[in-house]
Structure formats: C-alpha cells, structure tokens
Symmetry: C2
Subunit: 346 residues, 2 copies
Amino acid sequence: MAFNPNEHQHLRYNPLKDEWILVSPHRALRPWSGQTETLATEQVPRFDPSNPLCPGVKRASGIVTPNYTTTYVFTNDFPALLEEGPEPDQTEDPLFQTRSAKGTCKVMCYHPHSDMYLHNLSTIEVVAIINEWVKQVEELGQKYLWVQIFENRGQQMGCSNPHPHCQIWSSTFLPNEAKVKDHNLKAYFEKHGRPLLLDYLEKELSKRERLVTENDDWVVVVPYWAVWPFETMVLPKRQIQRFTDLAECQRKSLASILQVLVAKYDNLFKCNFPYSMGWHGAPTGEKRNETHPHWTFHGIYLPPLLRSATVKKFMVGYELLAQGQRDLTPEKAASMLREQYDTRFK
Amino acid sequence: MAFNPNEHQHLRYNPLKDEWILVSPHRALRPWSGQTETLATEQVPRFDPSNPLCPGVKRASGIVTPNYTTTYVFTNDFPALLEEGPEPDQTEDPLFQTRSAKGTCKVMCYHPHSDMYLHNLSTIEVVAIINEWVKQVEELGQKYLWVQIFENRGQQMGCSNPHPHCQIWSSTFLPNEAKVKDHNLKAYFEKHGRPLLLDYLEKELSKRERLVTENDDWVVVVPYWAVWPFETMVLPKRQIQRFTDLAECQRKSLASILQVLVAKYDNLFKCNFPYSMGWHGAPTGEKRNETHPHWTFHGIYLPPLLRSATVKKFMVGYELLAQGQRDLTPEKAASMLREQYDTRFK
Ligand SMILES: O=P(O)(O)O[C@H]1O[C@H](CO)[C@@H](O)[C@H](O)[C@H]1O
Ligand SMILES: O=P(O)(O)O[C@H]1O[C@H](CO)[C@@H](O)[C@H](O)[C@H]1O
C-alpha cells in the first residue's frame, strides 16, 4: 500500500518551534461521547448598561468608559503585568531562578457597539482596528521588547466579556514563544539566506493544497504543521517585519482578508467560531531599531472546535505530557474552510 | 518596598523545559464573569450495560469486555497510533518534513466497578493498578522507545467515559516533551554530576514551602515553576530511572501517596477534581538497556481548576501565543493542598 498523508499516520515537523506533531487521520472515525460545548450564537445587545466595555459605563477602577465612537484602548483593571514593582534578587541556584518582569496590559474595544464584529463592521471600520494595532505597537514598542496583541473570542476561550475586544500585553522580556520563534527563524536565515516564512509561503502558493483564501497582499493557510484542527496563519506576500511596516494599502487588504477568514470560520459550523488569535513580528523596545531580516510579520488563529459547534479538540493527557496530536489533516481542514462562502451566514 | 514573591510579579524558570513562566500574584483579585464549568459530582452507577468499559459489555470492535475482577487492559478501538502502516517517503525540504510514526494505544480500566476510584479502592487495589502500569511498561518497552501512561480525569479534561481508566500510548519515536526533558536533564547531569530532580527534591525537602505530602519513599510538590494552578509532581526520595525499577515496598508507598493526593485534590473544591496525569521515566525500546543516570522517574498532575469547582484557568491567548502565566503562587497552592485532609469528603 502506498503512503497517503490523508489516510496514514505520520509525524510532521514544525520549523518555527522545532518540534513534531502526530497526525492520525484514521482516528477521525472515532465517535464522540464526551463533553459538548454550549453553542455560541446568543445575540449580544448593542448596549448593556452593566457592561464596563460599553460607552458611558463605569468600570471596576471607578473610571467611566468614555463615549467612544471608533476603537477604544485602556489599561486593564486587573493586569497580569504592572509597569512598576519591587525587583526580585538575582538568584544563583539553577533550579530556583527568578527574574524581573515588567509590563502593561491593555484592553482594546473594536467598536462602541457590542453586537458588531469583523463580519458586520465595514472594511473601513476594520481598517480602524488595524490602525489602532499599529499605533499601539508603535507606542508600546518604544519601551517594551515584546508587544503581544491577542484576542480570545468566545467563552470557551476564556473570554469573560462579550463586547468585541482584544488585549495587548507588553513586556520587558521576550516571552517563550517569541524567543523560540526568533531562534528558529534566525537559524534558517543564517543557513538559507532567506526568511523562512517567505520561502514557506512561496511553496504553499505553488502547492495550493493548504490555502484558505488570498488577496493581493495576504494569504491565509492552514500550516503544514498545524496542531489545532482549524489553525490558520495569515502571511504577507512581500516581506514585512512588523505591524508598523504596513503600508496603507496593506492595511486595507488585511482588513478584508480578516473579514473573509472570520466569515469562513463562522460558516463552517454555523456559529460564532471561538478562537485565540494574535500577531507576531520582530521584537521592539531596545531592538526596535535593529533590522531583523529573518522575521516575517504574521497572524495566528487557534480555534478549538473539531467536529461541530459543540465538539472541540481537547489538548489534554497525551498532548500535554508527550506531543501535539491531530486527527483531521491540515489539507482537509484547509479544503473545508476554502469551500465556505466569504460572507457570513445570517 | 522589598520584593515578596507572594505579592509581586516575576518570572520563574522551568529547568525541565528551559522556559520561563510569568507569575502575577496580584491578579488573583480579578473578579470572574466568564465561562463556568459543570460541577462534576454526579454519581456514576457501579455497572452500566451500555458502557463498553464495564465487564460483559460489547465494545465498538465487537469484542465483549470480559468479566475482569482487577485491572483490564485492551487496545483502543480508535487508536491515534497503529502498529503497522505504509511509511512516508523521506522528505528533503526542511519546511515540509514528514516522518514515520508507529505505535499502539491501550486503554486500562482500574477496576470492574465504575463507581470506584483511588479514594475508595483499597491500597491493595491501587497497588494492583501500579503493578499493571509496571507490567505494561515492561512489555511495551521491549519494542517502543516511549511508553506514555496518562489519565484524563473528568469531562473537562476530554475524558469521554466515566468508568475509571487511563491510557497507554507507546511510540517508535520520542515525543517532544520527552525529548526536551531528556535534553535538559542530560545537560544538568553533565554539568553537575547529579540528577536534576534529585537535587531539586533535596532542596524542596529542606525549604518545605512547596510540599503537599510525603511518606518514606515519595514526595508530592507543587513545582517551583508550575504553570497550572494546582499542578503537582510526584518524586521518589531515592533515584529511580523507570517504572520498572520500583521495589515492592515503593509500589505500596506510591499507592498510598496517590490516594492521599487525590483525596486532597477532591477536598479542595469538594468535587471530583479534574486533571490530566501521567508518568515520565527514562526511554525504553532500543534504549532500554542503556543507563540513564540523568533521568528520575516521576509523576505529573495537571489540573485545570483555579478558583472553585466551576472556575478554571484558561490557557488561551497570551499563554498560547507568548508564555505561560499564573495568578496564584505555587507556594500558596501547595499550602492550600497541604491543609486538606488525607481522606476524601463523603
Ligand atoms: O482517547 P479519548 O479519551 O477519547 O480522548 C482524549 O484524550 C486524548 C489523549 O490525550 C486526546 O487526544 C483527545 O482529544 C481527548 O478527548
Ligand atoms: O483577561 P481575561 O480575558 O479576563 O482572561 C483570559 O485571557 C488571559 C490571557 O490569555 C488568560 O490569562 C485568562 O486565563 C483568560 O481567562
């Protein structure tokens, strides 16, 4: 029998993390009798006087959220990172090492209306979100080595407020994921003289089996090494190192491709598709004036659903203790997303 | 102001993974208005004629589960790893690497009764579970490089059958977590001439602030670098490389400490405390006759709950895209577990 990656188990290498994942396509036949999730389709009211992210509502800090009309950014009332605080002592013992961590956590509302998300905002309004992301990276990047923009969409992804928003956590240190990626991107660049993700994208554009959607400036793929069932990566067609390098036309085309991607996600299982998403680019802070030719700016979407709006993939025992494992192949996931309409179901 | 690790944010180093985690104790004050979990306290009937893990019931494969009286092990009907299958071609492209994966996935029932778990089994019956684990590692370790025993307890941890059971996934390859740990344990041993985990345990036994429980042979600690709120590690007091090295008295003392640990977990939030747990030891298969002085056999418990039986810690946006983050300090978690009774609430 000939090997067929859509049928036969194998390992795939993730060159960004230098690790392998187990692909077990034959396991997709497994019936599911475990936990099911609540279907996330509830209508959120446009304005809720008890929701602190709505214009004019008082927050835990006592500050009243202003009557904003576009995006609105403020410092999290319960931040995981504070700008100031006592410094830990230098520790000598290799088994009990502590280090200083400083930073700031911001919350960014996408729009004053709680019932508006990427699919029903105008492209101009999505460009406003992107412009705000760029502005935040520009400002916070003056001081902080890493500015992590991320969004947890849906209760299943730990989101605790239904008003459309993302978060921006900036730190004086390079977080693990950034450090590992920086290391692997650099090693590839030193060996091949080209940015890894640009080489990767070029090959994906010719293979075409993992493409989800593309436009003049951007491509969405299910990475060859994806671990979450419908994981995707948003890649620029031309080398860009950071959010702050985006030209105006690239912001507009990014806005439209994100609208298409979210519509496809929501159409797949006819629900508000939950995910964590975020952006990675070259480090900032003290490294903001260095060039990082190995870094290609990109977006990452990590959605937990596997079979339907209510059955997710659990990353548990084997995955936590041994290795990432997936059932559905990345090629199959890409083709399922590709098939969906570019506008969201009503 | 002096630095106080129980109050002030900092990073801690995990020498087993060579990565850092962010500890933000001040964030514990954050109110929670996000998703809550179903309280897992439902009574499972002793026997359910529709549950394939119960004695005498027919499974998906058509095989009838025998009338077992102690532990019972069989090959998973929907395994993520198969023993045979076509081999992928050797790939040259560094960005599209595939490798062969062979293995076998077993399910192991702890006891014929669905309503029996570690806390209401006799210690002799728990020893029978440990003996079966040892036997499985012995047998599967003849052929496979890595034998991963793990248990997903509770629906929240993706467990799809309430009958008490664990799984054993064996593979021809060293999974990522094993590879990274092997590498870091070896580097420490080469530098210091002693097993990392033995050095670590000695220091924990003198510091005493992260101990949960101990007996003559075993210690349970919340690791200094724990990322899950109530994560623990079960460590032997004397160097042991693998499950198969356990003397009879060490099996008995392991059985009792696991019973205590589970009782403490269940008592903490008065529920069936969900977790993924598993065992790591020196590689087997072609490496089973080598000595691995850097490897110390140990158990790992990763429970998701944070504040109560219904509020868990979400490892989402920042954690997936940047770095592990925890609110409660490991010292606080250890003291909360230490305070609990050694026998489970009724
Ligand atoms: O085999 P089970 O218990 O049905 O499945 C559970 O454990 C597996 C191993 O951690 C995971 O891959 C699955 O996502 C999870 O639901
Ligand atoms: O800040 P939020 O949205 O309340 O919290 C959510 O996102 C954070 C960052 O990924 C996580 O640490 C929390 O566990 C999660 O519930």
